[in-house]
Symmetry: C2
Subunit: 343 residues, 2 copies
């Protein structure tokens, strides 16, 4: 257990390092007002904190730098909620003023502003559409062999799939099929579509549609690729501003990571809802050992549907990022809920 003074010193060190990006020495801390302690005492405490694993020393005659464990303690116990400045608030509000047309645009905007305000790389996932309910399905034949299946959700999202048609299907059969699908599957959440197709629609199809088997297989195609995760990145280049990434090699690995959407989705997909912070090695990917991720969830109608977050160096302005993320996630939730529920 850390003493009050140790906590205080750790706090000061982390704060300082976050601002300066340079190892902080005992004198710097001692000069900080409020603590009437000499640098020698601080040195002793620092040595203790290092032994406990909260601090690290780049080399013998340098100041101290927080370790992953140090940052962890900092975010868990020392950070206090930060209020955003007038200016930042004004910046953030921008998004919520403009009229929304497409949901995608709001998300895109959010990512852009998030990155702009924090100066880190922003990542937004989602919104998930598994929970969305089927509003309408349509099949538009393009020629004898192909058709486009279009699924509209109650939130206004449109997904489409190219289908290969069985040989010699008259348009009338397709029309019948579409009618059955719309009457039977309306308001069904997308993730249930396939199972409901077999359980409830198949029998009806067998009676009215010919050729039954092939059509069933075809239409299943249309329900397959729903829910592909969407990912929005902004401010990739911001990483380069960080002094810890002056080395070209490190930047390279990170940029390679930023191109692999599947990896990113794994990293940012926030299984628990709410605020998540992963610091340095906690990310378990080697490239990320000098990086932290902060994410939070956003909601539609109270249900978590996506993730908004940032990627930055472990030396991250956690307090500010958390404040900004909270604010944005709240705003996003409100806007999306309004939009999806039809105001």
């Amino acid at each position: 257990m850390l003493s009050d003074r140790q906590r205080c010193i750790l706090h000061a060190i982390v704060d300082n390092y976050i601002r300066s990006a340079e190892p902080v020495g005992s004198r710097t801390i001692s000069k900080r007002e409020g603590l009437g302690i000499s640098s020698a005492t601080i040195r002793n405490e620092m040595a203790d904190l290092e032994e406990l694993g909260y601090l690290e020393q780049p080399h013998t005659s340098a100041g101290r730098v927080p370790s992953t464990k140090g940052y962890r303690f900092y975010v868990d116990n020392l950070i206090k909620p930060q209020n955003l400045s007038e200016e930042e608030l004004a910046n953030l509000k921008q998004i919520f003023v403009d009229r929304i047309t497409h949901v995608e645009q709001v998300i895109e905007q959010t990512a852009a502003i998030l990155s702009q305000v924090t100066n880190y790389t922003s990542v937004v996932l989602g919104p998930e559409i598994f929970e969305h309910r089927l509003k309408h399905i349509q099949i538009v034949p393009l020629n004898e062999q192909q058709a486009v299946a279009i699924v509209v959700t109650h939130t206004g999202r449109v997904e489409n799939t190219l289908l290969d048609l069985p040989q010699d299907i008259p348009p009338s059969e397709i029309e019948k099929l579409v009618n059955i699908l719309n009457s039977k599957l309306k308001d069904v959440p997308l993730w249930q579509l396939r199972q409901r197709l077999y359980r409830e629609v198949a029998s009806e199809m067998r009676r009215h549609v010919e050729p039954y088997e092939e059509m069933l297989v075809t239409i299943e195609e249309a329900f397959k690729n729903e829910g592909t995760d969407r990912i929005f990145l902004h401010g990739r280049a911001k990483i380069i501003n960080q002094p810890e990434f002056r080395d070209v090699e490190k930047v390279k690995d990170l940029f390679e990571l930023l191109e692999q959407n599947d990896q990113l989705i794994k990293l940012f997909n926030n299984r628990e809802t709410g605020l998540m912070i992963r610091i340095g090695q906690e990310n378990s990917i080697d490239v990320m050992k000098n990086c932290s991720i902060v994410t939070t969830s956003y909601y539609v109608d109270g249900k978590p549907v996506g993730t908004v977050g940032i990627l930055g160096p472990t030396r991250l302005d956690y307090a500010k990022v958390i404040a900004v993320l909270d604010y944005l996630a709240m705003g996003l939730s409100r806007i999306l809920t309004d939009a999806f529920e039809g105001k």
Copy 2:
């Protein structure tokens, strides 16, 4: 006008520099077989070539480096068509083997392979859909105030727009509207939709649809945002491999450029069709002064619909890139033509 020997020397210098990324000296060229000339002679010729603006010298006691003008002469006059190696061909063919589902996937794949084979950043634009013809339009009401308009083209592409409905529209009116639109506008190219709407559909609407004015404005919305250019990037991180981008600052500017889609589209949108090469300052953007762009068009049914290209350092393996681009653009054209015309 350059003498044969000068051309030969210029050729050798550019070739060498492309491979080594280091200023090439007179001795290096003289040792190259085939030219029985001493290094002193080469030095004289080099001085001449420099005076003519084809070469540059980083500093007095260094070898020569091609200038923009030098590269330009090289690609215009010295390069000879290059055949791809067995291995590269095998790599490239990959894309064309797998069955296509969505057009997007083919494009995405093309960008990926292009970047992989060349080791430069690849950019694919399009395909343009202005020329695509309307196959079907559908309006799905989500609630009292909003609806989704869905436009399907004859190529199977689906575009959707969120519409604000006028107050109190009965579904029957919407249905009437959709019927009119489908009967009047079928097979019309997308870029003509708006003008045709006013010229041919408006009068019909006035007779059958109520409220006529508001509905006209609403439906126009749906035809507005068609043809948003699509851009696919791959291998951004590859830039960092280039020795000329060891400096973090230069990389930063470039990565910022790579995040601005509108800028990229301007750069890559190849107004003339066919092969285009822009070297260094020819790009007129300052960030690009050390970069070259090579693009070519791809076609559907003989009409250019998009651009495929790469972005790399001015010290670019032009011969190889041109060969790869030609091959890919041809393949892409074939696949897309097949897909769009329904085989």
